[in-house]
C-alpha cells in the first residue's frame, strides 16, 4: 500500500553525481535553471540538452524515474503551452475562428514546453542523487553567511532534516495503524465525504499520539546527548570539496559562459 511510495525521491545507486558534494549539485541546479531563462536561441537549447543528457547519463538513474516528476506538471504544461500557442500575436499559420496559431506562437510555446520539462527533470536529478540529509547539510553550509544576520541557519536545517527523517517513519506508522484498524473492520474507502472524514478519526488520533510520543522521545534523546544548538558544533562528516567538485564547477562556468555568449552574439531570434 503506502510502502510503495518512494519518498524523498532518493535513488540509491553508485555514480559520479551521487558522490559529488551536495553544494556542487545545489549550485549546478541553480546554474541550470538560470541558464534556461537566459537561453533564447536554438543552439543554447542544444547545449542545455547536451548538459542535461550527460547529467542523466552520469547519474545512473533510470530515465523513467526522472520523467515521473513530469506527471505532476502535465496540467501546467498543457495550459502554458496552449496559451502561448494561441495568444502570441504574429503571422497566422492556422486560423480556427477567433483562435489563431501564429508562427511566433509555435516557437514560444515550443521553447516554453522544453523549458518547463527541463526545469523539472533538472531538479529531479538533484533530489534523485542526493539524500535529504545531504541536501539540508549542503543548504546549511551554503547559507552559513546568514548567521551574521542572526538567522538560526543550523536550527532551521536541523528542523528540516528531522522533518524529512520523520516522513518515512510516519508513513510506515500510518500504514500500520490503517491495517490495524482495517483488521478491526474499519473502512477507509467507501462513503461520502463527511463519512470518509469521520472514518479517518481511528487513523488520525493514534497517528497524532504517536507523532507526539516520537517527538518527546527524540527531544529527550537529543538532550541526553547534550544537544544545545548549532554554536560550536562540529560535524562527523564535514562537507569538503574534492577534485571532482572543482572539475564540475569548471564545467558550470564553461556551460554558463556558452549560454550567455550565445545570447550576446545573437540577441534576437524571436
Amino acid at each position: 500500500m503506502l510502502k510503495d511510495i518512494t519518498l524523498g525521491q532518493y535513488y540509491p545507486v553508485d555514480s559520479i553525481l551521487h558522490k559529488l558534494d551536495p553544494r556542487t549539485k545545489l549550485f549546478g541546479t541553480m546554474v541550470f535553471i538560470i541558464s534556461l531563462f537566459i537561453a533564447n536561441d536554438i543552439w543554447a537549447y542544444v547545449i542545455a540538452t547536451v548538459f542535461l543528457a550527460s547529467a542523466i547519463k552520469l547519474s545512473n538513474v533510470p530515465l523513467k524515474f526522472m520523467v515521473r516528476g513530469l506527471k505532476a506538471i502535465v496540467f501546467l504544461l498543457l495550459i502554458s503551452v496552449s496559451f502561448n500557442l494561441f495568444l502570441t500575436p504574429g503571422t497566422a499559420v492556422v486560423s480556427l475562428g477567433f483562435l489563431k496559431i501564429t508562427k511566433e506562437g509555435m516557437i514560444v510555446a515550443g521553447f516554453m514546453g522544453i523549458r518547463l520539462i527541463y526545469l523539472v527533470v533538472g531538479s529531479s536529478i538533484m533530489t534523485l542523487t542526493t539524500t535529504p540529509n545531504q541536501l539540508t547539510d549542503g543548504l546549511e553550509k551554503s547559507l552559513d553567511f546568514l548567521n551574521r544576520f542572526h538567522v538560526p541557519v543550523h536550527e532551521v536545517s536541523m528542523m528540516m532534516s528531522i522533518a524529512l527523517r520523520f516522513i518515512p517513519i510516519l508513513v510506515e506508522e500510518t500504514d500500520k495503524i490503517m491495517k490495524a484498524q482495517m483488521a478491526r473492520g474499519a473502512d477507509f474507502e467507501t462513503g461520502n465525504l463527511i463519512q470518509k472524514a469521520k472514518n479517518m478519526i481511528p487513523l488520525l488520533v493514534p497517528l497524532f499520539i504517536s507523532a507526539f510520543r516520537r517527538a518527546t522521545d527524540l527531544a529527550m534523546a537529543m538532550e541526553a546527548r547534550c544537544y544545545r544548538g548549532g554554536e560550536g558544533r562540529t560535524k562527523m562528516k564535514p562537507l569538503k570539496y574534492g577534485n571532482q567538485d572543482r572539475v564540475t564547477y569548471l564545467v558550470y562556468v564553461l556551460y554558463l559562459a556558452a549560454i550567455i555568449g550565445l545570447r550576446i552574439l545573437r540577441v534576437q531570434i524571436f
Partner: protein, 282 residues
C-alpha cells in the same frame, strides 16, 4: 481446514530500487482449533505472512484459501474475512483512539454491523476474557499501564468474535508477569472457545510451552513445520538462522553428550524435571 496457502509469493515495492522478495513460495495448512507458533528472525517474513491470512496484503503470486474458498476470487468479501480472522498487530496499544476503554472495544463489533446492545455485550465479554473488570470501562485508554492498554487492544479484536486469532508478538515489551497473564489468557481462549490461534513470537520458551506446532520462517521461506519437540531437535540449524531453542533443550543436549540417557525431545522445564527425577529414581 481453516487456512490453506499455496505457493504464496510476495514482493515489496515491485519495479523500484527497493524491491524485496519478502515471501518465497510459502505453502501451509492450518486446521481449525490448532495452536500454532510462528517464529523467525526479524525480517524473515513472519509479519508479512500473517497479513496475508486476513487479506490485508495480497500475494503477488499464489492462492490462499479460507474454509475452502479462495480469498482472491472475484467478489470475495474481505471485510467478512477480517471478522473471521482476527489479527492483533505488534504493539496493538498504538491503535487505541476512543475516549474510553469500552467505546474503543466496541469499534470492531460496530464495524461488523451489530447494533449498540449487541456490540456492548460483545465488548463486555471480550474485556472479561482479557481480565479487565467494569472499573476500567469508563477510563481513557491512554491513562492505563502498558500491559492494560495491550489487553484493551486485544479485547478490541476479540470482541469481533473471530474464529482464528493471530497475534504478532503479543508480549513484546511486557514484564514477565504481564507476559504470563496474556499468554495464559490466550491459552484459555484456545481451550474454552476452541479458537484457532497463531502466535508469532521471538521467545522459544513461550512457544515451547503453549503451541502444538511450530512454523519457522527464514529469509521469506518456511523452513520447518512440525511439533516443538521435532523442531527444537534442529537447534543447531535454528542457531544458524539467528534463532535458538529453549534453554532447557541445551541442558538436555549437554547432559546427553555427557552420556546421560536422557530423552532429548524435552522442551519444557517441567518435562525435564520429571525426566531427571525418573532417571535418578532408577
Amino acid at each position: 481446514m481453516a487456512i490453506k496457502a499455496e505457493h504464496i509469493n510476495y514482493v515489496y515495492g515491485k519495479g523500484t530500487a527497493f524491491e524485496q522478495h519478502a515471501l518465497k513460495d510459502v505453502n501451509l495448512e492450518i486446521e481449525a482449533g490448532e495452536f500454532v507458533g510462528l517464529i523467525g528472525h526479524t525480517g524473515s517474513g513472519k509479519s508479512t505472512l500473517i497479513q496475508h491470512l486476513n487479506g490485508l496484503l495480497r500475494a503477488t503470486d499464489g492462492k490462499l484459501y479460507y474454509n475452502g474458498r479462495n480469498i482472491y476470487e472475484e467478489g470475495y468479501d474481505m471485510r467478512a474475512l477480517r471478522s473471521h480472522v482476527g489479527l492483533v498487530f505488534q504493539y496493538p496499544e498504538h491503535q487505541l483512539f476512543e475516549i474510553d476503554v469500552f467505546t474503543d472495544v466496541c469499534f470492531g463489533p460496530k464495524n461488523q454491523g451489530l447494533n449498540k446492545e449487541e456490540a456492548a455485550k460483545r465488548a463486555k465479554e471480550a474485556l472479561t476474557m482479557v481480565g479487565l473488570d467494569e472499573s476500567y470501562y469508563k477510563r481513557s485508554p491512554f491513562e492505563l499501564s502498558g500491559g492494560q492498554k495491550r489487553r484493551v487492544a486485544i479485547a478490541g479484536v476479540l470482541a469481533m468474535n473471530p474464529d482464528v486469532l493471530i497475534l504478532d508478538e503479543p508480549t513484546a515489551g511486557l514484564d514477565p508477569k504481564g507476559r504470563d497473564e496474556i499468554l495464559d489468557q490466550i491459552k484459555r481462549l484456545h481451550e474454552e472457545r476452541n479458537m484457532t490461534i497463531i502466535l508469532v513470537s521471538h521467545s522459544m520458551e513461550d512457544v515451547a510451552r503453549y503451541v502444538d506446532r511450530i512454523l519457522v520462517m527464514n529469509h521469506g521461506e518456511k523452513v520447518f513445520d512440525d511439533t516443538p519437540k521435532e523442531v527444537f531437535q534442529h537447534y543447531k540449524e535454528l542457531e544458524a538462522m539467528g534463532l535458538a531453542a529453549p534453554e532447557i533443550t541445551y541442558v538436555v543436549q549437554t547432559l546427553k553428550s555427557h552420556g546421560v540417557p536422557i530423552d532429548t525431545s524435552i522442551t519444557t522445564i517441567e518435562e525435564a524435571r520429571d525426566e531427571i527425577i525418573r532417571l535418578l529414581g532408577k
